[in-house]
Symmetry: C2
Subunit: 408 residues, 2 copies
Amino acid sequence: MPVNYATPAADQLFPVAGVRLGVAEAEIRKKNRRDLTLVVLDAGCTVAGVFTQNRFCAAPVQICRQHLAAGQEIRALIVNTGIANAGTGEPGRQTAQETCVAVGRLLGVDAGQVLPFSTGVILEPLPVERIKAGLPAVFADLKADNWHAAAHGIMTTDTVAKAASRQVTVNGKTVTISGVSKGAGMIRPNMATMLGFLATDAGIAQSLLDKLVKEAADASFNCITVDGDTSTNDSYVMIATGQSGAGFTTESDTGWAEVKAAIIAVSVELAQAIVRDGEGATKFITVAVQGGKDVEECRKVGYAIGHSPLVKTAFFASDPNLGRILAAVGYAGIGDLDVDGVKVWLDDVLVAEKGGRAAAYREEDGARVMAQAEITVRVDLGRGAAQANVYTCDFSYDYVKINADYRS
Amino acid sequence: MPVNYATPAADQLFPVAGVRLGVAEAEIRKKNRRDLTLVVLDAGCTVAGVFTQNRFCAAPVQICRQHLAAGQEIRALIVNTGIANAGTGEPGRQTAQETCVAVGRLLGVDAGQVLPFSTGVILEPLPVERIKAGLPAVFADLKADNWHAAAHGIMTTDTVAKAASRQVTVNGKTVTISGVSKGAGMIRPNMATMLGFLATDAGIAQSLLDKLVKEAADASFNCITVDGDTSTNDSYVMIATGQSGAGFTTESDTGWAEVKAAIIAVSVELAQAIVRDGEGATKFITVAVQGGKDVEECRKVGYAIGHSPLVKTAFFASDPNLGRILAAVGYAGIGDLDVDGVKVWLDDVLVAEKGGRAAAYREEDGARVMAQAEITVRVDLGRGAAQANVYTCDFSYDYVKINADYRS
């Protein structure tokens, strides 16, 4: 059961003018499963993406990077679940490319205008013939109000489909933003893994979109951790169709701040949904680090706390175990940290300062916060003005059960 | 139950001439528990240590560093369990110093010639009066053949006492090396944590010993991980009494290579014992990384594998889950790693090469190795001659149970 998360209803996910989505069952690995999703873009869109830093990056990630770098206008995204096409070497790159050729042929565009995505079991060959066989069905299913189906179409072992949508009015135009994501651990057992797609009908110049996708990923998908493992297939792709009539080319354009904030908010919602559906998660934790010299050191501290199995098991146990949190701050890698200047809160309860437990801290106050399903650990490093958030979940028996017992 | 480890019998732990040890019950936190250990050194010893890098380092660690840096001849080590004197601020430093003063008075030496060590619950004040009250009893217990008792005296939540001993003959002299260690997680719940003490009757010049303790720690205690957390109290201290008559001042001295190798071997044995007794451990894993450009990158890969909850749960499940191991290699942080040149073995079974599963690999061969209690994961990065080992254990239900249910 995800922590405080339910998939939005279909009518809460607004269509984005210029984007049509289709979903079908292609039996890529199992029968009776929507496992193929096609996203078709009108001409005139800009598209940008960020991808896994894992050196064992999957074949489709390699092809995506190539196609985006080549600069042809992107017209389609093809996503399959079941098989990740990762750890498949040169043959894997060929099947990913072959998929693009088939989609291009169907749509009358170049293979280089298609981005391929795969998620599922790794080290297994992609059954490209089944994808080809499924293309007519996804093509026939294409429609603008299909985001809900697409959110389901990209699921693997997620327990819920993940989607978010909102609208903002700028310069007299309504701008729509919709997105979907999938993933439940950084790598679900043998699964490879995190995918996110967001589209807006705002027009966004390529250079501005390139910058935005990185910034949005840094504020969302790059802030989450379930188990600290980085998947081979992680991809986050952003599409701007321009069909709302609201267009932006620079950061200083009127209305850009609002649109950017809304896009980042949807990104955060999509990313947090992955943590809320984290393997075995019973709690959703925000680690909010402030007072750092730079964002980098705030992130180090956030991840030290967010990755620590000891901290995460304490959350599972609702145990206000301050020692584990302080120790994680201490080993986060800030060489000149003055621990006497560090303060730590659980929600609004000051628990540590001056190198140890806060004088006024009472165990029952910490225990009250730790019993909640949503908890904020706030850390003030007391040495600057930078801040960063990390989102994580607790570490339960079910995490071990899922990862030890399950073999896809 | 530790993995393939039992405490050596008392008569297998050789006395080290120049070192006497005493153990007593001081009721520091609980009754009927040997919780105070005194190690007294004859005049003329050299002593060196390495300590936690955690910025929240405990008060005794701060005092140890000061006393070693001041350069007075060290004549005693005092170790208490029960309370770690960590996260205790300035009052904690005062009680650690007060302990040294009391030991110095008892032995007729300066407080600066005493090194204090504490392990146990953090964020609680050290009951220094109980330590003082216990000093006559540890003093009365001092004897040379007391290493077995000392190994028990420094235990906290370890399930077995940890000790190792060996002798080598060099230049016609018998050199003895004995040591003890404690620790079961990098931080056992609220416990803070890893301690190691080694003594030899070889004579080792201070500069040579300073170098050796770092090198030995890098090959042993700095190669182990149970949960990736770095404790506030970690300390490893090495003593050279010189009473064997075999003395060394430089790396090129005859016989030094043998003595050094034996000291490192004892260090590795003491460090591995901690992993074998790791929280919930059912398997002992050696991650042997070779073919790196430098040791640092080999260690990165070793730790990426050794820390991954996904890899560790796969070991628990005896699941030859190659994808998780390859993914960990891929995200270890070697930016220019050519994954097609990486090879991975489980013991003698080649499981991965050329960016994916090895052609000849059969699942049953991997499963056979994974079923063992001791497993070596060998990774060849194929880009240099450097190598490094990391020792770790698997990740079981009991890890979560111990860390979620237990509150000391």
